[in-house]
């Protein structure tokens, strides 16, 4: 059985062109960018080129707005903790949507231990932030408001431009976690009124262990990794040259190819949604149209997500689930609970995320496997 990989939200392959491009930075041109000799300068140039490419992907004011990190988790930590601690005079509050990634919510919870308040912003059943309530919820003492561009578990794309207007009317900073969105859909940080934006290298076919944080000119942050003062003093540590150069090339390719590729994936996504929604007691999770082009997510009544994942794997098809049984805490996904699902409903979730390796010829194989899986597990269920 040929592998059909549908878990691009968890990990992605590195684009062969990215690998070919970045390889020399771990073999021949491996200098330390802080060194003044020619090898160091070559490395320095590679990093500045990558910074330019990443800035172009999101229409940043200029390349100095981009800080490279070790990935989305570090970028989110930096945005939440770094901004909150640096702007403490403004107040001791952070705000985040209830469906933020755990690498946003946990730094916010850590701040609570040092006296910060956390405001959780509710979402509707489709996962969209309630814009009507947002203006009332956000108080003047909020140092940073974090709302993701698109959610990784339910695919919903947030109305960031409208959110940005509300946050700025209050004179507050908006952080946007674009891990699932960057490289998939067009992002314009200037038009959307974004102050801080998280990106992940691997989520755009770049090397793992790479990420970036866009910081709008004028936004003040406290470094969370003090040391040798790399990255304008905001992120110390010798640069991960391979990941950074690779991320730059991945950003360039994503910008070039995003349009047709997202149209292609959207067509496949919609066919998957149509076919799988025909299964009895199956429901789409997230927004039906305001969703990532490669993202199809569902829940099935009376069966459990880990069983779905394992059963699909027997067809050599890899999917994800928000079921409690696969989480470290044995709690169901906070995202599915935040969109109003009951615990027993959240247990039966399945997330499919498409990528460049997938093609329309796989669709009948996938839908057949899902139908058989649901049918088999429903024979077993007492509910």
């Amino acid at each position: 059985m040929r592998q059909i990989y549908l878990d691009h939200v968890s990990a992605m392959p590195i684009d062969p062109r990215v690998l070919a491009f970045a390889k020399r930075y771990v073999t021949n041109d491996f200098g330390n960018p802080s060194s003044l000799h020619s090898a160091g300068l070559t490395a320095k140039r590679a990093i500045e080129d990558a910074r330019q490419r990443v800035a172009e992907l999101i229409n940043a004011e200029d390349e100095t707005c981009i800080i490279f990190t070790s990935g989305a988790t570090e970028s989110n930590n930096m945005a939440i903790k770094g901004t909150a601690l640096r702007n403490i005079r403004k107040g001791k509050r952070v705000a985040a949507s209830a469906i933020e990634h755990i690498s946003v919510l946990n730094p916010a919870k850590e701040l609570q231990k040092s006296g910060f308040e956390l405001t959780l912003i509710p979402v509707d059943q489709a996962g969209i932030v309630d814009i009507g309530k947002l203006a009332d919820i956000l108080t003047e003492d909020t140092t940073v408001t974090s709302i993701m561009y698109a959610n990784n578990e339910i695919g919903t794309i947030e109305p960031i431009e409208a959110i940005g207007e509300i946050v700025h009317e209050k004179g507050l900073y908006l952080h946007v976690d674009a891990t699932a969105a960057a490289g998939r859909i067009p992002i314009d940080v200037q038009n959307d009124g974004i102050d801080l934006l998280t990106m992940s290298s691997n989520d755009m076919y770049g090397p793992q262990g790479g990420g970036a944080l866009y910081i709008k000119p004028g936004v003040k942050l406290q470094p969370i990794l003090p040391g040798g003062g790399q990255e304008r003093g905001l992120r110390s540590g010798t640069e991960n040259l391979f990941a950074i150069a690779g991320m730059g090339e991945a950003a360039r390719i994503a910008k070039d190819e995003m349009g047709p590729e997202s149209e292609r994936l959207k067509g496949m996504r919609d066919q998957l949604i149509d076919e799988i929604s025909k299964i009895e007691e199956s429901y789409l999770t997230g927004h039906p149209t305001q969703r990532l082009p490669h993202h199809a997510s569902f829940r099935f009544s009376r069966i459990e997500g880990e069983s779905i994942l394992l059963n699909m794997d027997m067809y050599n098809i890899q999917v994800a689930t928000g079921s409690a049984c696969t989480s470290r805490t044995l709690e169901p996904s906070h995202v599915l609970l935040a969109v109003g699902l009951k615990h027993e409903e959240a247990h039966g979730s399945m997330v499919m995320t498409l990528g460049r390796s997938n093609n329309a010829g796989e669709l009948p194989i996938i839908t057949k496997a899902v139908k058989e899986t649901v049918q088999r597990l429903r024979i077993l269920t007492p509910m």
């Binding site: 880990e306 394992l310 794997d313 049984c325 044995l330 009951k342 615990h343 077993l380 269920t381 007492p382």
Partner: protein, 128 residues
């Protein structure tokens, strides 16, 4: 395709569970778990001369919940009820070549469901 965390035996029982289904008018019936936690198991037994002559199960839950249910039916079938009462959660896990640590509790309730079915049989018998 070995699953990380699950033994081959767990996966074999997950894919080909033994004794799936229900028994009409069972001599004993046990049910444990609840849907909020993500695991529900029910066990049906037929008993002849205090020996489990037939056993069936239905399970809502993860891979190990299904595999442990299947395994406990295999272990209990043909056993005297006193012997079957002695089957522990650990026995079930051991027979499956172990379970991942975090699966030892919540999805290893199959022995409890079996014991529930035997208790139900005993209480009915006393009533007769």
């Amino acid at each position: 395709m070995a699953q990380i965390g699950y033994s081959e035996k767990v996966m074999e029982h997950f894919m080909n569970p033994r004794n799936v289904g229900t028994i009409e008018n069972p001599d004993g019936y046990g049910k444990v778990g609840n849907p909020v936690c993500g695991d529900v198991m029910e066990m049906f037994i037929s008993v002849e001369d205090d020996t489990i002559s037939d056993i069936k199960f239905r399970t809502f839950g993860c891979g190990s919940a299904i595999a442990t249910s299947s395994m406990v039916t295999e272990l209990a079938k043909g056993k005297h009820i006193d012997e079957a009462m002695e089957i522990t959660r650990k026995d079930v896990a051991d027979e499956l070549d172990g379970l991942p640590p975090r699966k030892m509790h919540c999805s290893n309730l199959a022995a409890d469901a079996l014991h529930g079915a035997i208790e139900d049989y005993k209480s009915k018998k006393v009533g007769k």
